[in-house]
């Protein structure tokens, strides 16, 4: 027995009873608009959060040490500190550094490939490291060589000039010299601060700048220097599992090595990442909550409207059963009715989704939605609608056919 779908009659009946259906369709459209754009933003933010800094985040921490007193000689104490730290069991390596990747604060400079102030420049973060920078930061020299110990100089306070050697990230090499293979950038001269030449002696695989929102996040340069300063930052990489123990231990070790100092901001890179990406993770949480709530509310709206209609149409349902509708035909009726309402809402939702995305692009410089979010959103809302309607539809199917003769 072939069954006739009741598209035509359902549509005509809906047109005579528009209000509820239209409101639900609008709610579906709105939900789709917000859910799809929210998921897109979430995925985008998650993508940002998953970017790697290049350093051994799980096993690294840093601290600030400020020395006092007449007999505080920065160069001697810093070298002595580094010696002590590097010889502590469990420490992989340690350096003095001017800034911490992805921490939010640091130095940047402009590089050009020709001298002069009218050249196109490329901005980069600058990290001051000695020969231990590679191991402490967990970098790999993929072309050229690490600094030699003779390359390392002391940078005095307010010293304006630069060492004549530097290592740069592969990403920065490609930005500076887009026309040649990055390996060939070794040996090239770049100009820092318009006209001071620096030779690129090595390329490292990956190291991010301190600013996660910066478009040139992958641009970083290592300068072979140690800083003469009372307030110095040490970056320490430990063996797996040793970090937390060493954070406490090294604080004492340093205090014992030179007592007249203040140790502050003992911080893991994990904490730093959390801090830096806090806005992103908060945004993800808020949007996820909004999304789930909206979808639930819409599903509940559909359940409510359908239940209301089932109760209102009990006699009609009983009559249909008396006239030969099987239970399945009654379920199908309400599912089909939902298909019609949902499809209207979803189609409107597609237009509104694209509209909102265009506004977001204009207002917040967001990127355009990938096309497949649209069919995915359509499918999700369609399934939500059908699932929501299932309960009331089954209840409708349970209406006894005798209702037809028993009610007036």
């Amino acid at each position: 027995m072939k069954t006739n779908l009741e598209f035509g009659p359902i549509c005509r009946a809906l047109l005579r009873n528009k209000v509820g259906a239209v409101l639900i369709a609008l709610q579906i459209a709105l939900t789709m608009t917000i859910v799809v754009n929210a998921i897109f933003i979430i995925v985008e933010r998650q993508g940002l959060m998953q970017r790697e800094s290049g350093i051994d985040e799980a096993n690294s921490f840093y601290l600030t040490s400020t020395g006092f007193g007449k007999d505080f000689e920065p160069k001697r104490i810093i070298d002595q500190d580094l010696d002590v730290i590097r010889n502590t069991p469990g420490v992989v390596d340690a350096i003095q550094i001017n800034a911490i990747p992805i921490s939010g604060g640091g130095w940047s400079m402009s590089l050009t490939t020709e001298p002069g102030d009218d050249q196109d420049d490329v901005s980069t973060a600058v990290y001051f490291v000695d020969t231990h920078g590679i191991d402490a930061l967990d970098l790999e020299v993929v072309a050229g060589d690490n600094f030699a110990s003779t390359d390392i100089r002391w940078r005095e306070r307010n010293q304006p000039d630069w060492p004549d050697k530097a290592m740069i990230t592969k990403a920065l090499a490609e930005k500076l010299f887009p026309d040649i293979p990055w390996q060939s950038v070794v040996g090239k001269t770049v100009y820092i601060g318009e006209d001071e030449p620096v030779i690129v002696t090595g390329i490292v695989d990956k190291l991010q700048a301190p600013w996660i929102g910066w478009s040139e996040l992958e641009n970083a340069m290592l300068s072979p220097e140690k800083m003469v300063t009372e307030s110095t930052r040490y970056f320490i990489r430990t063996e797996p599992g040793q970090r937390d123990r060493l954070m406490a231990e090294l604080e004492n070790t340093l205090a014992n090595a030179y007592g007249n100092r203040l140790i502050r901001n003992v911080t893991t890179v994990t904490q730093t990442r959390e801090q830096s990406y806090r806005q992103h993770s908060a945004m993800i949480k808020i949007l996820s909550t909004v999304m789930v709530l909206l979808t639930l509310i819409t599903a509940m709206g559909i359940v409510g409207l359908t239940s209301f209609n089932v109760n209102r149409r009990r006699k009609q349902i009983g009559t249909r059963r008396a006239l030969g509708a099987s239970k399945q035909a009654i379920v199908r009726y309400f599912m089909l009715e939902n298909v019609i309402i949902s499809t209207t809402g979803i189609l409107l939702g597609v237009a509104m989704t694209i509209g909102l995305n265009m506004l977001l692009i204009e207002w917040f410089a967001m990127t355009a939605l990938d096309w497949y979010y649209i069919p995915a959103g359509m499918a999700v809302l369609f399934v939500v609608g059908q699932l929501a309607v299932l309960g009331p539809a089954l209840k409708a199917a349970a209406t006894p056919p005798a209702i037809a003769t028993r009610t007036v």
Partner: protein, 233 residues
Amino acid sequence: MLSMNNINKVFRTDLVETTALRDFNLTIDEGDFVSVTGPSGSGKTTFLNIAGLLETYTSGQYLLDGTDVSNLSDRQRSQLRNEKIGFIFQSFNLIPDLNLYDNVDVPLRYRGFSKQERHKRITQSLERVGLANRMKHLPAQLSGGQQQRVAIARALAGEPRFLLADEPTGNLDSQMAKSVMALLQEINQQGTTIVMVTHDPELAMQTGKNVFVRDGQISKHETLVPMALASNQ
């Protein structure tokens, strides 16, 4: 056509047990026009619902067209209702959101007829009840008598062998009741078996047989001379 042997129907609610039919026995032959009368609460509607497969019975045997219906699935019962039985209700039970055409279409869609077949049957049956020119109207735009005619058209469109009517004229004034009754008689003459519950003794007199139900049992069974026939034509 229809045969009930010792049918019992007990309604159980939390506290009360109501026996609506008690050892109910009735045979209806093909082509009969049977009226069912009796006091309120005697079990007329219950009988009709069981006959029309709208309700199940507690015990006994019911043969519809020689088939025992007690073990049929819901789907089979629905299909039998759809194919063999036409219903006419006291309050018409038209679907208010559908026009006359779509209303008559309802059982035909469950039957799975093609669009052309449905169209043919809808127009024919609406013509038969004299409302073909109002197809696009909604039930609310018709008088009670006209609505009942549409309901009759809906019941007839599937060409059932068996028409069940529960007080079809109960909501109509006497003029409209007469015309509905005339229509039923015409339908019966063309071969459809009709069982009609009514409170109106005058209408009952116009059917071929009358059964009087009291306390869930048939207390009187009489064959009548259908006298209204002549006056009708």
